[in-house]
């Protein structure tokens, strides 16, 4: 619209808009809580979201996978030993059709051994179904990781919280202990503990949690120290709040983000240590399967049956990648100042 046209407009067409001065302060967007805000930021991180979906799928598979194909992970059928993978449907494409090496020649082992069943991921030297064992192993590995991480969080938060909150002599003594403990390499203590304990699920969890909580306790202590002296705590204390209330209502919610971030990095470490210990023969004992023992077993027969090694290797790698990416994403979302 040109200027002349504008001038020709009758004045009646105009209406005065009065701006209510109080509405200038109005917040038009809904106010978001810390967690809603973090979720908005996390949602933008494609890698973290994809990892979450993958992780959920893996957890679902770990739960239902062992029951999918009707084989039992501990049932030994020696006649069916050392079979390569054979998957219905895909076998027509020329892969996973049961072709394996026998005496240096490629033959269909299922036809030679006259096996009618399908073993999706093949079988091991004792004729156990590897598909079932793989998901059982994933289940065990995840269980170890989650329990170890939970123990780390509980001990770490309690220790760090008490040390940081009460300060003074308590803090001094507790920190001297930590300073000595932190010098002991995790690897050494884990191996020593496993040497003296009966090998098994509990032993691994105890060994991993024995030093795992230290990192968490230091972070929690530093955070508590940071918030303890702030005005809102002082205000609460002035109003007569008890220690319990200050810790539970004021301090913990503030350091929740950092606890979650740290836990997300504890879990892959625990998965790694479990697999590592099982690989050097200190982990779970047969017939129990974990990703580590499966990789160890698969490594031994790598030459003839590469798939035996490949499947658990892929699952553990994907698990670790997913946890690390989610951890990265959460760190960026929960603590935008601490981007790494």
């Amino acid at each position: 619209m040109r200027k002349e046209e504008l001038q020709q407009l009758p004045p009646e067409k105009f209406e005065r808009i009065t701006i209510d001065s109080s509405s200038a302060e109005r917040i038009s967007k809904p106010s978001l809580s810390f967690w809603q805000d973090a979720w908005l930021r996390l949602r933008k991180n494609k890698a973290a979201i994809v990892s979450m979906v993958v992780l959920v799928l893996l957890i679902i598979m770990a739960l239902i996978g062992p029951h999918l194909n009707g084989h039992d992970g501990e049932e030994q059928i020696l006649r069916h030993a050392n079979l390569p993978p054979k998957i219905p449907g895909i076998e027509k494409l020329g892969i996973f059709d049961g072709t394996g090496q026998l005496g240096g020649e490629k033959v269909n082992l299922y036809e030679i051994k006259k096996v009618d069943e399908y073993y999706w991921f093949g079988t091991d030297g004792l004729g156990r179904d590897l598909f079932t064992r793989l998901w059982e192993g994933t289940q065990i590995s995840l269980l170890i990781a989650f329990v170890a991480a939970a123990i780390d969080v509980v001990i770490g938060v309690l220790y760090g919280g008490i040390s940081g909150y009460f300060g003074g002599r308590v803090d001094d003594v507790m920190q001297r202990i930590v300073e000595i403990l932190i010098g002991i390499p995790t690897l050494i203590i884990v191996i020593l503990m496993l040497l003296i304990m009966e090998p098994g699920l509990t032993a691994i969890i105890i060994a991993i949690s024995l030093t795992g909580w230290i990192g968490m306790s230091r972070i929690v202590r530093a955070q508590i120290l940071k918030y303890r002296g702030q005005e809102f705590v002082l205000a609460s204390r002035t109003l007569g709040a008890s220690d319990k209330r200050i810790i539970g209502k004021h301090l913990l919610p503030n350091i929740m983000g950092i606890i979650i971030i740290n836990t997300m990095f504890t879990i892959p470490t625990a998965i790694f240590f479990e697999a590592f210990l099982s690989f050097i023969g200190l982990g779970l004992q047969p017939p129990a399967a974990s990703l580590g023992t499966l990789i160890n077993d698969g490594y031994k027969v790598m030459e003839h049956q590469p798939y035996f090694l490949l499947f658990p290797a892929v699952v553990i790698s994907v698990l670790m990648i997913a946890f690390n990416l989610i951890g990265d994403g959460l760190r960026d979302a929960l603590d935008p100042k601490m981007k790494d």
Binding site: E179, P185, L195, A275, L282, S317, N324
Partner: protein, 354 residues
Amino acid sequence: MAENPYTLFLLKGNKVKVCKCFHFEKKLIIQFDINQTHVLWRCNVVKYIGKRLVYMFLTMFLIATATFFLMQTLPGSPIASYNKLNETQRAIVEKKYGIDKPKPVQYAIYMKNLAKGDLGTSFVFKGKSVNDLLASRVKPSFILGAQAMVFGTIIGILLGMLAALKQNTIWDYGSTFFAILGVSIPSFVFASLLQYWVASQWHLLPVGLWNDGWKSSILPSIALAMGPLALSARFIRTEMIEVLSSDYITLAKAKGANGFEIAFKHALRNALIPLVTVLGPVAAGIVTGSLVVEQIFAIPGIGEQFVSSIMTNDFATIMGTTLFFSALLIFIIFIVDLLYGIIDPRIRLSGGKG
């Protein structure tokens, strides 16, 4: 109450300010003392080193004691075919290895020898001292560790630089993804896959053992290097991005320095400093990795020795190797902390308090 003075380093802008603070009549007095920066710094460092040495000693003592008593509770006997021996033979063998005496005496003897640097005699390798055993195996482990460290860090730095300089391009995403892979995939998985494809399927490099000169060290070094590579790539990327947005980079660009000069001469040097902090975890990762990687590639190193002595219940060797690893890691972390303080004086040396 003025007896409690301690030094604080205050950070203001990018300048370090040194001040002394102490309590006086329940008030915190802060005294700025800029001229004496150096003196105060030095006296703090000596105190800090002293304190750290005490802690290192305590930690080692604790580890040695714990190792000794944990070994006593191990199931099984270190002496092979123990059950086949008769009373006299047992007595002779036990006397030879000094395990006939009561536990406290054994402990005292063990600690005394340890102070002299003697780790004892192996139970499995007849009459060989653990010191000799470790000495004969330290070379391959050291070569692998050093190669992995150097190779991993250099490639990691280059990858991290590439990612930072070409931020949010395919190069950045590629190298970030690669770094995530390196952090996530356990070294033994990577090592066995490398062995399967490169050595066993394509016959490019030896499958294992230590008899083919430098060639046999390539694959295990690569497997060990993945951790340091990924860590330093991620670290350098973050640091570089921060450094690249600072004023002196703009100045360098303004005065007409070319891209190569800016990247290597101005940005990298400043981004490198914080990398020192991750060297500690990196070294721990390499030691952990060496246990499995040496086993996979059948390298006659200390890691492989450790795993096999666990399998054969060789108490003396397990204890010796444990102490060796602990001392190594504690020493590396100490050096790293010191280096960090020296390189970047902004770090408060009150140390270890998080």
